[in-house]
Amino acid sequence: MRRVIQFVPTLVPGDATGMHAMMISKSLQGRNIETKIYVEEVRKDQIGGAVRFTSYARENRPDDILVYHLAAPSAIADFLSSRGETLVIVYHNITPAHFFEPWDQVAATGQIWARAQLSRLAARTTLALPVSRFNQHELIELGYGKSVVVPILFDPTIFASGSDKKVDEMLRENRDAGRNNFLFVGRLVPNKAQHNLIAALSAFNRIYSKDAVMHLVGRPFSKEYLDLLKEVARDLGLKENVNFTMGVSTEELSSYYHGSDAFICLSEHEGFCVPILEAMHNDLPIAAYNSSAISETLGDAGILIQKNDPVTTAVAMEKLVNDEALRRFLHRQMAVQLEELTFTASRDRLFNALADLEPALRQREAIG
């Protein structure tokens, strides 16, 4: 049997790319396929025992299937482009450089470099596994051949570790004081448009005479953008209403999902948006701006905001927290959408896609 070797930039907690690689690894092991993960950067907080990618040159087998997770610029791309093994690309999406340009020219240049790497690997790639149809279109435009959409392999057991008492208490206090808790989870980065979330919160509090709180869970990509968000919040009189959590533990994250009233996403560019899946799993009503891959992940399980302006978002927020019929409807729709995006469904799509390369992955029913 051929080995499946994965390459990811890093393997750290909370990173969707790394988590997807881990779940693929787990699935393949379940089918007795020999698998291993290599990383570009071995970090202290790394999960699992992955080693640096350069070691692969000494450990390779000519019939290996190499699976490269592409989401950022990486020396791995250049390393793999000159190798002869079968190459599979898992495309998580590259954020367009223009989102970073004013804030961090190095990051912007990095995105351009990543796109060039993605483009260069097109001819070298046997199979592409974009995580959404939105990503698939980008690959087709870049000249990729066979591609199969395999959504993120989401592991709901991550929320089984329990919750954080302090966060639970803080959210409960807000609720008891009549303050709604709104949540967004994701790196503080311009394309995720946390500045628009603050503007929407301002509109919500102003229009409905409320004192709601927006919890922004995630680490900042740059000090400048974090400073801007804090300035905007202060300038709009929302210093006490915007909670910048920075990094959180799994328990804290679980508490935010369980204790919030609604999940609001105004992101302008997402290749998949795992937090939407997490919110659905935690039965948290969602309103999200209809951009990039959002509508694919959300389906009919939340309000798709068509116009990205503070008033429209504020009205959608009000509906999410006060319209009981809507909440009941979304509760049912989230269950339907989660059925479509279950771990098993995505894993089967992965196996089907890889079966042409490794027949042992063909679905058992089909073999029988």
């Binding site: 149809r133 051949g145 591609s147 199969v148 300038d235 509508s295 503070p310 959408q337 089907n352």
Partner: protein, 363 residues
């Protein structure tokens, strides 16, 4: 063989369902026994979307989130984003100043340290290496100073070029040089209202001034808003809760998504811009109009400019001359507007065109 479908082509039935799902067309399992669920889902979600739109209109009409506050939000962001975030002249100048500040290389390395003795070591290093660093820094500073001087000269030349090309294009009726002229004519508002048909989406009033037409349409069930590049005109709106925005029309149109508006009313500056800009404006308007959308052009009668010295000055200093109604009609018909009609008033004309085909060749 290149294959961009989701699954191999020989796996028929299940695969189609998966593709449907990924298209977002159907998220529940599709079978013959379950179509009502999808129909119900779509109906319910459409109802929610309608309720949100109506509530937004209601709240805006109540003045719950005044346009002045929205303008303030925009200003806050503009002030806070780093230099170069936008593409305006102001952004460029801010970036130039920030580059100038960063262009000086300082060899006076800070030597303070909380660790005992380290300050002395640092000082020693700085002293012993000063001759070498100074030599390098002098060359770098020389280079960066010249580079910055070059950029300033370049900026000044580009600015002259921009000013020349800008004035060749248009003289904006703003500031003290030119005053905007807002046409009023008896019966114009009623004719506009009857020509627009039943309200079926948002209507943009360009060069809205004090919002008279915005208010008039809103009072008759339309969801309209105004844009004007002249801040003074916006200061005293006829009704404070109107959605009147201070922005250039061309900038505003660029921000609007395709097919987003039910109607557009053009007036004032659309008379005074060059023919090329007029055509560009109509093309932009056509892009943002929904299928079956309305375009209304209120144009000042060219002869009316002879009646006052103020208007004569404005006409002579503007790069474009007002079109006669026949010219507007010809332009709209050429750009595939249908049922183009003109109604004349004492000093202006109202030309209406209906856009029915958003997939016209050449779009």
């Amino acid at each position: 063989m290149n294959q961009s479908l989701d699954e191999p082509a020989n796996a028929a039935t299940d695969e189609n369902q998966e593709i449907d799902f990924l298209n977002g067309a159907s998220h529940a399992p599709t079978s013959e026994s379950s179509p009502p669920m999808n129909v119900q889902t779509n109906e319910f979600m459409s109802k929610i979307a309608r309720e949100i739109d109506e509530e937004v209109r209601r709240k805006r009409a109540q003045g719950a989130f005044p346009p002045a506050f929205e303008r303030r939000l925009k200003t806050i962001f503009e002030q806070l984003v780093p230099p170069g975030a936008g593409n305006s002249r102001k952004d460029f100048e801010a970036l130039l100043r920030s580059s100038d500040r960063a262009a000086y290389f300082d060899i006076d390395v800070p030597i303070a340290s909380q660790k005992p003795g380290v300050t002395r070591v640092k000082k020693l290093l700085r002293t012993t290496q000063a001759w070498y660093l100074n030599y390098l820094a002098q060359q770098l500073n020389n280079f960066s100073t010249n580079l910055m001087r070059l950029l300033y000269v370049f900026d000044s030349r580009v600015k002259k070029l921009e000013d020349a090309s800008e004035s060749a294009k248009t003289v904006r009726p703003s500031g003290t040089f030119l005053k905007p002229y807002y046409v009023t004519a008896s019966g114009l508002d009623e004719k506009l209202l009857s020509s627009m048909g039943e309200p079926a989406g948002r209507v943009l009033i360009a060069d809205c001034g004090n919002g008279y037409l915005v208010n008039h349409l809103n009072e008759h069930g339309f969801d309209s808003y105004g844009v004007d590049s002249n801040l003074e005109s916006l200061e005293n709106p006829v009704v404070t809760s109107l959605d009147l925005r201070w922005q250039d029309l061309d900038e505003h149109l660029k921000e609007i998504a395709d097919d987003a508006l039910f109607g557009i009313v053009l007036q004032n500056t659309s008379d005074m811009i060059s023919p090329v800009e007029k055509l560009d404006l109509i093309l932009q308007a056509r892009r943002v109009l929904a299928p079956t959308g309305n375009l209304a052009i209120i144009s000042i009668d060219p002869r009316f400019f002879e009646t006052s010295s103020e208007l004569l000055v404005q006409r002579d200093l503007s790069p474009g001359k007002p079109f006669a109604p026949e010219t507007w009609r010809y332009v709209l018909e050429q750009l595939e507007f249908s049922n183009v009609s003109t109604t004349s008033f004492e000093n202006c004309h109202l030309t209406m065109g209906y856009f029915t085909n958003n997939d016209a060749p050449g779009d």
